[in-house]
Symmetry: C2
Subunit: 403 residues, 2 copies
DNA sequence: GAGCCTTACTTCACGGCGTGATCTAACTGG
DNA sequence: CCAGTTAGATCACGCCGTGAAGTAAGGCTC
């Protein structure tokens, strides 16, 4: 109830810059004329603000298009090379650091394997900072808008004014308890830092560039070894009071049901997560990881093996029921199923999931929702991570000084 | 992505008026000095805007307070009598219409019983319009900011510019399928109409005047014959894509579990709703309604009757598990348990609910949440309904012409 | 190819905004 | 009664978006 909305007239200009920049960025080359129609700003303001953005190099003219016998419309776009972004995917097996241009085309990347499943914070920090040095070699740091980092855990953002020092990460699975990741990374780089849960960054990527495009309310359901979700409310990632919203994997689907690796019983993850499925099946090749095990399970089901078929049918039933809960609670326009296991299972399970969701959800909200597979693949975590500084950049109206 | 944020400089003033008005309304008599500190506006602007609001009669000076040897601070408040509000509770057994002043003090009320459980839309509309005539007798319609209506069902808001004509209600329980309530009421009154789900209006009341005060992220869980929820995100009711968000009663807690009156199995409502509890217990006095039946069940448990004790223990266990899901998914600061059955059961079940929620929820988000009972009682639906036009009024910065 | 029409974009006067410096009001303490 | 102190009012300033008027840049007609 304190600093709500914009205060001074200068903030109005920031807002206008932001709206125009966003529109040009996402709606590709576009003319001033169309910008006026779709944003509602007057032609005078459009002209004024675009001139400012052109002078800042944040927009450039690129060709023109005829207009019914009148003066042709000049097309505008955001020059992809105007600035750079870094996206980091901190996984349990490796750290991947990638450098992007503004169009999110990958310019360089660096992989650092982790030897202990990500438990050692020092090793992770060293991998991130080392990767940064590699991908930024020969790049002017002043052109880098920031570093976005997706981590497997709950991220407390702390005070945004503290330059990242307040960022703290909690993760039960890799044993991080209140790790001050922001402060640790700040010691090795002066670039702006943006940290969020990896599922949320992947969700952000699907929303901007994948199956979520155009939706204002959506849930991206992520299935890997475990299960997570990224809830999008009004176009923005929903965080809740302390950024842990969307922890979907341990939703209670069956009180007193199958034992989950979290210790409780009847969690969604115990029925749909790759780790649980492979373990429950029990016939994966010895020494295979979750990915290979799940592939073997799918293969067995395709061959018609009873146990595998039943296990996957049950997974679809439970997954559909859990999605129905999301539909009832969040009333989204779209549910997107992603994550490596989700994409692997999707083609086989999707019809069953849809049937189950239809049976378990309330009719009205269910009729408003479509359930689809993600289109970006699991490697989009880095893209989504890079979208964090990009989002800040667009929100700020292209303020390069603030960084 | 179209009309985001405010456009012209005049909207800035509307925003300032709104912020100041809200602050004075909720934080009681308050001085310009304090307003400046808490809103961040400059003293000049405060002076300017409050002068405007004083001239409009939306603020009045009321006494003063000493200030360390200097000029005393003059206190400001919103004159409760400046305008009126109407709140309507459309229940399954009756329609209650109440007239309030700006402080939400009830000035008049009118109850109209329904003979068929609310199925006949015509009867409901007649009751609402009749009640309006009664409570507004002798009141200048120009001083009434609007009529807020809480209904048992999903409310599609339609186009806000359509003057309420777009408001459509869906309710499986009372057999309303796409009832154009807005258009039907518009035929009988020209006052501004605001319609929302009754659970959401009660939630709004708890947030503003009850157990939810001060929280920005909260869930008000409502237990009556059925179970519903009102999700508050960033201080506002969360609606989702088509206003049906928060349908919590049919969350799947036990796939294949106890049969629910919605036809599915294992819904939360089948374990916690008053109707299900009474039916499952099976020893309520013949002819008793849900309320009397639940009271009897509670009495039996207090007397130590085994079946009743076990049923309530199980209800607490399932209720806690469902609340844990809310905690994981929404990460609220506070969970408030309300509704007539929730308030009846609360004193006995709360400890068990808290234990169950602690066991089922993830540690981190659970540590951020408190679970409490509502403080307003079930009759607050009309108050919450009246809060709908009030909220619009405050948002608009006290624009009486817009109505 | 010259004039004219159409459409896209630019320029500019205007009313309005919040800020911050400065001024006035109101009360206390000696 | 007068200085000290704090609350609130006033006002010049820089900036904003609007909308009307002006300019640029094409096609079309004769």
């Amino acid at each position: 109830m304190t600093a709500r909305g914009k205060r001074t007239v200068r903030d109005l200009r920031r807002g206008s810059r932001s709206i125009l920049l966003r529109r040009v960025y996402f709606d590709g080359p576009i003319s001033r004329q169309e910008l006026g129609q779709s944003t509602g700003l007057s032609a005078g303001s459009i002209s004024n603000v675009t001139a400012e953005l052109l002078a800042d190099g944040l927009l450039e003219e690129c060709g023109s298009v005829e207009s019914d016998g009148g003066r042709p419309r000049i097309l505008l776009r955001v020059p992809p090379g105007r600035a750079r972004l870094v996206g980091v995917d901190v996984g349990e097996t490796q750290v991947r650091v990638a450098l992007f241009d503004l169009a999110l085309t990958e310019l360089a990347a660096s992989d650092h394997p982790l030897t202990d499943g990500g438990h050692d914070v020092g090793q992770v920090v060293a991998a991130v900072l080392g990767g940064l040095d590699e991908v930024l070699a020969g790049t002017d740091p002043a052109t880098v808008l920031g570093v976005g980092i997706g981590v497997p855990g709950i991220v407390e953002q702390g005070d945004p004014a503290a330059d990242g020092h307040g960022i703290v990460v909690h993760s039960q699975t890799i044993g991080w308890d209140a790790v001050p990741l922001g402060r640790l990374l700040r010691a090795g780089t002066s670039l702006p830092l943006y940290v969020d849960n990896g599922a949320k960054t992947l969700g952000q990527a699907e929303m901007w560039f994948g199956a979520g495009r155009g939706a204002r309310h959506a849930v991206i359901a992520l299935v890997g070894s475990g299960v997570g979700a990224c809830v999008i409310v009004d176009g923005a990632r929903f965080r809740g009071a302390t950024s842990s919203a969307g922890e979907w994997g341990h939703t209670r689907l069956h009180v007193g049901g199958r034992r989950c690796r979290c210790g409780a019983r009847g969690c969604l993850e115990a029925y749909v997560g790759a780790a649980a499925l492979v373990k429950c099946w029990g016939r994966a090749p010895a020494g295979a990881d979750d990915k290979a095990g799940l592939a073997a399970l799918l293969g067995a089901a395709t061959d018609g093996q009873q146990a595998a078929v039943e296990l996957l049918d049950e997974a679809a039933e439970y997954f559909g029921a859990a999605i129905a809960d999301l539909v009832n609670l969040f009333n989204p326009e779209r549910i997107v199923i992603g994550g490596w296991a989700g994409l692997l299972l999707g083609p086989r399970l999707l019809p069953g999931i849809r049937r189950s969701a239809a049976r378990h959800a309330l009719r009205f909200p269910h009729a408003q929702t479509s359930i689809e597979l993600g289109t970006l693949g699991p490697d989009a975590v880095t893209v989504g991570a890079a979208a964090l500084p990009l989002s800040h950049f667009l929100d700020s109206g292209g303020d390069l000084t603030q960084r």
